[in-house]
Symmetry: C2
Subunit: 418 residues, 2 copies
């Protein structure tokens, strides 16, 4: 049986544009991989009449309603009261939950719990309570007249923790099946070209299924299987993953990783190698992407942001003749930057980027979008030349960063750099 | 007369969680500063029946409906057809608009226009067409029975361009007043403390109004005035801005700027000074934030990401005795890193960050959240010591980056660093 869900976010800060509704995105991704159809997102303010109206509409068109927000301790946090009234349920006080919240205040927040928090320990009768190890507001879920209502806190970190710990297991229990997904990550080909290569597979498949999700410059392929057990689902996915990898070849860079930096982190760890960076037009983004990941210090030694040409010479040791003759944006400079970064940090390999990110051409007239990626290795120095076209500055920087990591992972996989 | 708006986003990719609904956020911010109440956001897939249902609900509860998405050239782009049917309007073909689209293909995309794009030149009768200088899908607006319907394209870059060029002027015409806002930017005090300082002002004001918007570690204060003319609105805002600045003092770092990096960029440009960076736990984020801004090369020379201790010594020249005696995470190392970055880049000033971003303490047992910011200047070297507590890694990195820029702007403003 297929379920239909509506996600209702409660919070005036969303309607003021203070924040984007990233909770709905995270829940949608999760439900999509569980095989639950999401047909509606609704956002409503901290207003009980309008929340009631949203609930009345949602229960007519969905059998799973997930709300986020409005579970806090203040007077305008009215989600539990409004939902309980809409579904004819009393609120019941749980003293044990209040003790949990009091302990969280003492151990994590180091302040005594304000007494207004007592309302956070009230829940609709006959519900399942979802504990919140990273905040004060527990969530809950109940079923009424064939409609499942799940209430989650608004802060994204608390919401996603509860989503993994409680919501996904709750929804899996609604179905007798195990639903399992693997994400096959690709870089270097547009979504429509990837789909064209896989059209026969994608069209004929019903279980497992294969879907594409595009990010700027990357395509994620999600293979999803439904089966009676985890092992059976894995067995169904294995040949699909193998076939996709065979059809797409070297554009596949990993499975179930967050992106190219994490794929490189894992490969470098396994090979016990370290790397360094020398960045011009990406301005520190290559460094920032790897150091955002825990454990980066095992493989990343450091790097130089040589934004001015003088820094390329003085810090990275790019010879002044190369800079004068070929310019700061050139293959020769990219190679010398990578060599310099490797030498001064002592890393096993080093990647470099120099290019024109715009909005204007560089001082020598290099057109926006021209980018060179250098890679210095013990076996020699390589370069990838790119023309990324006249895109927006942030897109050129983002794409150049991904190309830098793609050059690293191709080197580590013994694939040609270009 | 106060208007009430509903924002309807059309796109299955939103319901799959492929992207977040940042369009609704941008439109909400804009409408909020125009004095239009946004009471609902709705997201619906590329499905004409469900879009029709969303429209029927929205027209009962809002007098401004803004849709995003579904204006493309493919068979599932059905927004204009569905809305026209819902409001009893015929679609009319505009040959001049098709020529505009054809020219856009030739000049910006360098490919001939597919003939399927003809539907992008069809619009509901009696509507105002919004041209799209950065994409192929024009938008449009009409009024029917007291309800204004505005259709905008889905790609965020196209949507925001049209929002500024067409939607804001259209909505301003609905009111006889000019609505003008200024954003007063602060760093260093929580939202509730800022509100406590300004409570008297905020409560007694009706026009101008003053509202707070919190980002992690920053609070933006928006002062908004309604008046008959721009000059009259400016005259009403001036004393409010002055009073807020006087009450908040040095935590105010600028007005109408995107953040601390842009405030520093402007101040450095004005003083014709350059800066450099030396980053450990922020891993390149300080560099990345400034180089994301066009014109950064006027003030930013470059920097070093000295993630490994050996790089602090070899590249930045931090004396080995300091590293041995005080450790990589120490005030002494922060000062020496900043001095080293200034020396090797030749910049006028340099900022450094060293700290423990977690998830684990550093090898000497420095607790997560301990961070030192160094600032090297011609007049001497300064340090700000921070205990950011046991937060998530990305929050510590983000907060440390903002502190680094705050140290720079306080130095440039002749304010004490600490």
């Amino acid at each position: 049986m297929s379920h239909t869900a509506e996600i209702i976010a409660v919070g005036t800060e969303l309607l003021l544009g203070n924040i984007a509704n990233t909770n709905a995105q995270a829940i949608s991704q999760s439900l999509s991989s569980l095989g639950v159809n999401v047909f509606w997102h609704t956002v409503v303010g901290d207003n009980p009449e309008r929340l009631r109206e949203a609930l009345d509409i949602a229960r007519r068109r969905a059998d799973i309603i997930i709300t986020t927000g409005g579970l806090g301790p203040t007077y305008d946090d009215l989600t539990k009261q409004t939902i309980s009234a809409a579904f004819g349920k009393k609120l019941v006080f749980h003293p044990d939950i209040l003790e949990d919240i009091r302990r969280y205040y003492a151990s994590a927040l180091h302040v005594p719990m304000p007494e207004s928090n007592a309302q956070q320990a009230e829940f609709p009768e006959d519900c399942e309570i979802f504990d919140n190890p990273v905040g004060t507001a527990p969530g809950c879920a109940f079923e009424s007249g064939g409609v499942h209502v799940l209430m989650l806190p608004g802060p994204p970190h608390e919401m996603t923790t509860m989503l993994r710990r409680h919501v996904e297991p709750y929804l899996r229990r609604l179905s007798q099946e195990v639903i399992l997904s693997h994400d096959i990550m690709t870089f270097g080909m547009g979504e429509s070209s990837v789909e064209a290569l896989l059209r026969d597979q994608m069209e004929k498949m019903t279980n497992p299924t294969l879907a594409t999700y595009a990010k700027p410059s990357e395509v994620r392929l999600r293979a999803t299987a439904k089966a009676a057990t985890q092992a059976a689902a894995e067995a169904m996915l294995a040949p699909v993953v193998a076939e996709v990898k065979a059809l797409l070849g070297p554009i596949v860079y990993g499975m179930d990783v967050s992106g190219l930096p994490e794929a490189c982190l894992n490969m470098l760890k396994e090979k016990k190698l370290t790397f360094a960076t020398a960045e011009s037009c990406t301005g520190g983004q290559i460094a920032e992407r790897i150091t955002a990941l825990p454990g980066a210090s095992q493989v990343y030694r450091g790097g130089v942001v040589s934004y001015w040409t003088s820094v390329k010479n003085a810090v990275l040791g790019v010879p002044q003749e190369i800079l004068d003759q070929h310019g700061a944006v050139s293959e020769e400079t990219a190679r010398a930057m990578a060599d310099g970064a490797r030498r001064i940090t002592g890393a096993d390999i080093a990647v470099s980027v120099t290019g024109a990110a715009g909005p204007d051409p560089d001082e020598r007239g290099t057109p926006v979008g021209i980018v060179y990626i250098g890679l210095s290795t013990p076996e020699g120095t390589h370069c990838r030349s790119l023309n990324l076209g006249k895109r927006r500055r942030d897109r050129i920087q983002n794409l150049a960063t991904n190309h830098a990591y793609d050059v690293i992972r191709r080197y580590l996989s013994n694939l040609p750099i270009n």
